[in-house]
Amino acid sequence: MPAHLSARLCSLALSLFLIAFALPAFAGPFEDAVAKFANDDFSDTEEAIGVVAGSGNKLAFPIISALQDSRLMADPDSKKVYVTGADGKSIDAATGEAVASVPDSASAVRLNNRLRRSVDAALGSLTLQSPDLSTRLQAAQSVFKSHEETALEAVDAALAKETNRSVKTALGEARAAILLFKSDATEVEKLEAVATLKARGDQEALALLTGMGDQPTSVTKAAASAIGSIQNSLAIWSMVQNAWYGLSLGSVLLLAAIGLAITFGVMGVINMAHGEMVMLGAYTTFVVQEVIRTRYPGLFDYSLLIAVPLAFLVAGAIGVLIERSIIRFLYGRPLETLLATWGLSLVLQQAVRTMFGPTNREVGNPSWMSGAFELGQITITYNRLWILLFTLAVFAILLAMLRYTALGLEMRAVTQNRRMAASMGIATSRVDALTFGLGSGIAGIAGVALSQIDNVSPNLGQSYIIDSFMVVVFGGVGNLWGTLVGAFTLGIANKFLEPVAGAVLGKIAILVLIILFIQKRPRGLFALKGRAVEA
């Protein structure tokens, strides 16, 4: 009997023991903290944030991020807290179990600005050790921005474990930012922090250093020198930025002007309908993409590659047609040609407006042309980069064509001396037609590229025509290198004037400068020399 009794007692003790240990697991500090969200009291909420964030529980991240987006629902009656997902499914915040529905009495946990800051900090430290590299990097950067003292421990912990170099740098910078504003950090720590920020050297580091308030004199001194060096490096980067924008604008100008340079150089014809050839190229791209969208959606990334030869053919064929039907009757009367081609541009614009409607048509970017990457402190978008490379490629091909092919040779001969070339047996009228077709075709190709960065509307060409003229006139006729130099000079000058004078005044200044430049060199930068040009 006693043995029986003792066994019973044992089992009782065991069950008591189990209960005693199981209960805290059910209502531990984490669950208590979660329940506090239901109190609808800002200081309770803050406490809860701290505890949850520090708990290491895997529910901590969903809870805090739900709190940030007002998706954390609390029921004041049952003290239950729920995380609602964007997909409408909800879980119990304390246990992580799925619940069918959140009771109607539950409402979103409210935040004020102070709490929002601690939510940001908590999220920052929670994600600092996430297994995903980009999440860690983002978290480190958000800690850098908020530089809340509370995050210091999390940063240190993360720093100790981190193996990736760029995340490590970001964490180090975040740590420096925190230390700089931490009142009880030592002078040595602060000096190190200043050095780290100096190494970072961007606008945000500058803002931190200038806004750090009262500091020991040695730190203030170090900060002053750091500010100076950051400002210098920022000035250099902004120059690089302007130069890049300038190159980008220059490539667009070059692309638009290069066809004009050929027709003007060889035939002395100002083709006012040149802009419309660019527009036709852009609309060809639109049509190609439409067909691909409806028939072969998988080919979308290749749409531009398909559009380039098509645009060349469409615009080139129309160019040859124009030359044969209008321009050849007007040789030797450049001013009349100008008027006739202007009329033609009106007709083409109106034709496109009738066919495609007056509004902008949407031309998409293939995946390899969208997005951007960072180079030092400037952002380079892929479409601008591709356009620059594409322009240079078109330029190189054209140059090679003029240099090494029979047609190129004939074109150069006609440019230099039409009558002499005719006497040597070159069929000048055939060369004229082909040249005009070539110039128009290149304008069409330009349209494919420009459709990626500009609105595809019937007025597309109009916005480029005057700029293209400026490039050709500035660069000089009969020399493609002149067009290249002209385009990039104008592009870069424009972008360097813009921050100083504003976009519109900068453009006006460029126009005035070109007008003055033409006075100095009436035939452009690289003028053809000799008697031929006077003809």
């Binding site: 002395g268 100002i270 006012m272 209008i326 009757f329 007007l330 009367r333 450049p334 001013l335 009349e336 040609t337 100008l338 008027l339 006739a340 202007w342 009329g343 033609l344 541009s345 009106l346 007709v347 083409l348 614009q349 109106q350 034709a351 009738t354 005057i466 003229f469 400026m470 006139v473 519109v504 005044l505 453009k507 006006i508 126009l511 005035v512 070109i514 007008i515 003055l516 033409i518 006075q519 100095k520 009436p522 035939r523 006077e534």
Partner: protein, 392 residues
């Protein structure tokens, strides 16, 4: 201008032209004001304003013909001079609004109050006086043309290069006037005019008077152009047009001749703009658009380059067609027509309407004289008609 010069400069078509313009200038305002509204012959006020606009365009076309038709300077920026004249007049009209503006500021025009400007910019001083504004209508375009021409002609910028930089000039002005802080009302321009010299701009009497004045300006402008082109200076201009280098080698200062005629032409365009603004009731930066200037050139080409009468005629014909077609069901096709007009006129009618007519008239006259000579010769028994025919 001596009577002798006047008679010398007028041939038959010029006399007919002047008679028609003078008759319109007198009869249309009179019919508008004196005849009852339901009368068959009464010209309604909106037509007076519309034709007033055409007359202003005719003056602009005349000014372009003077430089293009007689001196070979194709300006694609003449709309800029027209608009500058218009802005000078518009500034006067703005200052006349006084306290009747929306904000009731006695000095500042509404748009400046709206932009929170405290005082009038210096370049608006003096525009409350009509004589000053009228002077500026001539001086501002004239000065710009003088500076521009001085630079361009001295360094022998010619042909399409000149055309392109004139286009750049008007484009730069377009961009500048679109800016609010430039002080000319930004893209809304100047509008809501109340009165001119104390007369209500909207009143029928004022409109009729403005129409008559525009006709008078057209007549005066025509006489000035005629005097220039039929003088010795005009002969030099034509020589410059046809062979610039040769004229220079003969010892003429080509750039001075060009500069003179370019400046005169710009002043005329300015006057046209100044008369245009009170009749249309608004001036805004779109007048600077390069397309407008090119369109003005086509008026001249249609009417007949180098005929003066043709320029005015072309302006009226093309603009009448524009009004007619853009207001009807054919509106979407107007740009096709305008574009085709550009192409067909340059291809098929290089001399324009008046030039082609003149050529035909001369030819038929020569044929008639040749026939007369032939018949006379036949009577005399001498065989000479072959030579006469060859000559024709």
């Amino acid at each position: 201008m001596t009577p002798h010069m006047l008679t010398r400069s007028l041939d038959r078509s010029a006399t007919i032209f002047l008679a028609i313009v003078a008759a319109c200038g007198i009869l249309i305002p009179l019919s508008n004001l004196l005849l009852p509204a339901n009368s068959f012959l009464q010209v309604p006020t909106y037509l007076v304003a519309l034709w007033g606009k055409y007359v202003c365009y005719a003056i602009l076309a005349l000014s372009i013909d003077l430089i293009w038709g007689y001196c070979g300077i194709l300006s694609l920026g003449h709309g800029a001079f027209f608009a500058l004249g218009g802005y000078a007049m518009g500034m006067y009209l703005m200052r006349q609004i006084g306290t009747r503006g929306v904000y009731g500021n006695p000095i500042l025009p509404d748009f400046m109050v709206f932009l929170n400007w405290q005082k009038l910019p210096w370049y608006w001083y003096g525009f409350d006086m009509f004589w000053f504004a009228a002077l500026m209508v001539l001086v501002v375009p004239g000065l710009l043309a003088f500076c521009f021409g001085w630079l361009a002609f001295r360094s022998r910028v010619t042909g399409v290069y000149l055309s392109i930089i004139t286009q750049a000039m008007t484009y730069a002005l377009l961009l500048a006037f679109f800016r609010n802080d430039f002080g000319f009302g930004g893209n809304n321009g100047l509008t809501d005019f109340k009165d001119i010299l104390g007369f209500n701009v909207q009143a029928e009497g004022t409109r009729a008077a403005l129409f008559a004045l525009s006709c008078l300006a057209l007549i005066v402008g025509f006489l000035i152009c005629r005097a220039i082109v039929s003088s010795k200076l005009g002969k030099v201009l034509i020589a410059v047009r046809d062979a610039e280098s040769r004229t220079r080698f003969l010892g003429y200062r080509v750039e001075s001749y060009k500069l003179f005629v370019f400046t005169v032409s710009a002043c005329m365009a300015g006057v046209a703009g100044a008369l245009y603004v009170p009749q249309v009731g608004i001036i805004n930066p779109s007048e600077f658009a390069p397309g407008n200037s090119i369109e003005a050139v086509i008026w001249v080409a249609v009417g007949g380059r180098g005929t003066l009468v043709g320029a005015a005629l072309g302006a009226v014909v093309v603009n009448y067609a524009k009004t007619f077609f853009t207001s009807g069901v054919l509106a979407p096709y107007w740009l096709f027509m305008l574009g085709a007009l550009f192409i067909l006129v340059t291809l098929l009618l290089p001399k324009g309407i008046v030039g082609t007519f003149n050529a035909w008239w001369d030819q038929s006259k020569e044929k008639r004289t040749a026939a007369a000579i032939a018949s006379a010769a036949a009577e005399d028994g001498v065989t000479e008609p072959k030579m006469a025919e060859e000559r024709s």
